[in-house]
């Protein structure tokens, strides 16, 4: 069984919501659609208060190459356009729409039939993905069309579809693979066509045998697609780790993943691309998990982008009394929610409730130099040292020890027996060092 070559940890699996079928979440009365749904330049609202919008209509136009349009997820009237706090309590330009009915654009194919023939050509596919605002749904929300248009120097050889879902608790990718396997495979075929490559791997961790079985049996009908079983280890779903696990190639430091010839796309993205290309449906819905040991319900939903988190939590029986932390995303790399009224985004993959016992940090002890962080680091760094250098703000030394390689997976902090917040410091140091390096490069 394949896996990445170094480091990694084994957090408890906790896929308690994995058997909950994907349900349609009701549409709230009011949605808040943020203009920052992706990595890169924010979109600019192209509607004004009072405008009537339909489901799927563009309400934000992209600015720049690395950017994506934003579509309305509901039909109704634009109430306001302005700053609304996101889940980190940071003001973000947001379009607020009051919902009236559910009227979709006629161009969207709403039938359930699976369209297997890909009629669009390479250019049209990329153009369609761009128009539909598809972004990577594995966490980074990088615009997909940009990823499918690699620089001319790079020579893509294969597509890797990320079905590892190595974060504990999360099950949205698993549900997609279980319920929409054909769509994912067609999505994979679209990726191959868009990149002009003949090989597509779907990497799935061993703890999802059902999904492996299902996709393997269907994949025989899709030439070039191969399902790869991976060992269960975090952070298998990290782009660099997945490429290493599946094709055994290392992404160079500060290089692009495509330098290895592989283009990684998430399972959710494959489904979104299928919908965009075959159904002409822009990305305004997302699939997410509501879970946690203390959560009242374990469910998987299709949500309309812009639904307030509090609406979803109320729909699932409210915030559990003993929940001390709400996380959007997985427990290893997700974001803690500071503002429960914040809306969902395209990339929102879960609402995870953790109790105080699960998540409260213990007081920090002395480093006992056990080397467990060194052993756990999937990038071959020395977190204990970076932490020390970071606290002394020795930026040159930090750079010499490759702090910029850090992928912020959190393995070091997860494994530290002295409860030292290694990643907290390293993240700060990395930001400082990257800033210095960028300003030096721009000179």
């Amino acid at each position: 069984m394949r896996t990445f070559r170094m480091g990694g940890v084994h957090p408890a699996d906790k896929k308690i919501s994995q058997n909950a079928q994907i349900e349609k979440l009701p549409v709230p009365k009011m949605v808040y659609i943020s203009m920052i749904q992706h990595l890169g330049a924010p979109a600019v609202p192209c509607v004004a208060p009072g405008d009537k919008v339909k489901v799927g209509q563009v309400i934000g136009t992209p600015t720049g190459f690395v950017s994506a349009p934003v579509h309305s997820s509901v039909s109704g009237t634009v109430k306001s356009v302005g700053m609304i706090n996101d889940l980190s309590k940071r003001p973000v330009n947001t379009v607020v729409i009051e919902v009236e009915g559910d009227e979709w654009l006629e161009t969207i194919d709403r039938t359930d039939t699976i369209n297997r023939d890909i009629v669009l050509d390479q250019k049209q596919i990329i153009e369609r993905i761009k128009e539909c605002g598809v972004v990577g749904l594995g966490g980074a929300t990088f615009p997909t069309n940009v990823k499918l248009s690699p620089p001319p120097t790079a020579k893509p050889t294969c597509v890797i579809i990320n079905g590892a879902e190595c974060e504990p608790y999360l099950t949205s990718d698993y549900r997609v693979m279980m319920e929409m396997p054909e769509q994912v495979l067609i999505g994979g075929t679209i990726f191959m066509k868009a990149l002009g490559v003949a090989k597509c791997y779907i990497g799935i961790e061993e703890n999802k045998p059902e999904a492996i079985k299902k996709l393997s049996s269907l994949a025989v009908n899709y030439p070039g697609i191969e399902v790869v079983t991976l060992k269960k280890k975090y952070p298998q779903g990290g782009e660099k780790q997945l490429i290493d696990a599946v094709i055994g190639k290392k992404v160079p430091s500060q290089g692009l993943p495509v330098d290895t010839g592989a283009v990684v796309q998430n399972v959710g993205t494959a489904f979104a691309v299928y919908e965009a290309v075959q159904k002409n449906k822009p990305l305004f819905e997302g699939i997410m998990t509501v879970t946690g040991d203390c959560s009242k319900q374990q469910r998987n939903f299709v949500h309309r982008v812009g639904t307030p988190l509090s609406f979803i939590m109320d729909y699932c029986g409210g915030v559990p009394e003993d929940a001390a932390k709400i996380i959007s995303g997985g427990p290893m790399m997700g974001k803690a929610v500071a503002n429960t009224d914040a809306p969902t985004l395209k990339g929102t993959s879960s609402i995870l409730f953790l109790t105080e016992a699960q998540t409260k940090r213990q007081p920090e002890g002395n480093c006992i130099r056990c080397g467990k962080c060194v052993e756990a680091c999937p990038m071959g760094l020395e977190p204990y040292l970076l932490n020390k250098l970071g606290r002394a703000t020795m930026t040159e030394e930090l750079e010499a020890h490759h702090v910029y390689d850090c992928i912020e997976c959190g393995c070091c902090q997860f494994t530290c027996p002295a409860y030292i917040p290694l990643l907290d410091t390293i993240r700060q140091s990395k930001a400082t060092v990257m800033k210095i390096m960028r300003s030096r490069n721009s000179k």
Partner: protein
């Protein structure tokens, strides 16, 4: 006996030879440097704080000798040192008003309720890069003391009661390290003011009035009353936030009186006539500077001001 003489002789010859070698080398590799640089450096405080914008005191001295003193100022040494340097270099410079770091936030724990708990490394920069902060005010002090950590002079301490840093005006040299360290840009270098008296808006909240007030009791709500009251056009209100230009302010204190939230602070002023009993008034007016010195603990003076304002 012979041994001793021989030893002494050998050592002396050796010493002489080496001295000659050293002399030749010293002459050959001599670096020509303006001797005035050393003179200037000796006059500087030697804190190497970087407050002047140079890498250290030596760099300052080099710049002073090469480029003149027009664009240089040593905040630690202040005017006294600058005059001495100017004298040494045979230049004349004008005195600069002494400055001090001022915290533009008064969101203490009692004024600003915590709505969530931060649980990570104790660093303002880390919080600022993570999210909006523990309170509903997105502009206020995060209270983890990044400013305290960078201050070389021990002039800033976070008061655990209020959760806000306090500047010790006797120790602050206005080097500006804290200004750079604060991720919320709350610290500002302002003129120390006549008799150390200062008036400033202790808030940077740019939200609309209602939102700002919801997050913090003493937020500037941008009502503009102070700007209307000010006879010297020292106050501007932009994006729901008032700012007092210290170069124009004449310390009339009218703005402080009209501010509905108490966001405008006055420091080191004698107690207001209305609030003080006549018996103590004489001593206050007799020697204002004495009174100012007596009232040195800044926070105490501020509290005296804040209390009546909050009652309004």
């Amino acid at each position: 006996m012979n041994t001793i003489i021989f030893t002494i002789a050998t050592l002396s010859v050796l010493g002489l030879l080496l001295a000659i070698v050293l002399y030749i080398i010293a002459q050959k590799f001599k670096v020509e440097e303006d001797p005035r640089i050393d003179t200037v450096e000796a006059l500087l405080p030697g804190a190497n704080c970087g407050g002047c914008g140079k890498a250290g005191c030596r760099a300052f001295a080099e710049a002073a000798v090469k480029e003149g003193l027009t664009s240089l100022f040593c905040p630690v040494g202040g005017n006294a040192v600058m005059q001495a340097v100017a004298q040494a270099l045979g230049q004349t410079i004008e005195d600069k008003a002494p400055q001090i770091a001022v915290l533009r936030c008064s969101g203490s724990c009692s004024n600003r309720k915590k709505t969530n708990v931060y649980d990570g490394i104790s660093s303002c920069a880390a919080i600022a890069s993570l999210y909006g902060g523990e309170t509903d005010c997105l502009f206020g002090c995060l209270g983890k003391g990044d400013c305290e950590a960078v201050c070389q002079f021990g002039a800033i301490k976070v008061n655990q009661q209020t959760g806000l840093p306090e500047v010790d005006q006797d120790k602050c040299t206005a080097c500006g390290a804290c200004v750079k360290a604060c991720p919320k840009l709350l610290l500002e270098l302002r003129n120390k003011g006549p008799k150390d008296r200062r008036i400033y808006v202790a808030c940077r909240n740019k939200e609309k009035g209602a939102v700002a007030r919801k997050g913090c009791l003493v937020a500037c709500i941008g009502c503009g009353k102070c700007a209307k009251e000010c006879a010297f056009e020292a106050i501007t209100v932009e994006t729901n936030l008032a700012y007092i230009d210290y170069t124009k302010c004449r310390m009339c204190r009218k703005c402080v009186a009209v501010c509905p939230t108490g966001a405008i602070h006055e420091v080191n002023f004698p107690p207001r006539v209305a609030a003080v009993k006549p018996a103590t008034e004489a001593s206050v007016s007799a020697s204002a500077s004495e009174a100012a010195k007596q009232a040195v603990p800044v926070q105490k003076e501020e509290k005296k001001v804040e209390i009546p304002v909050q009652k309004q």
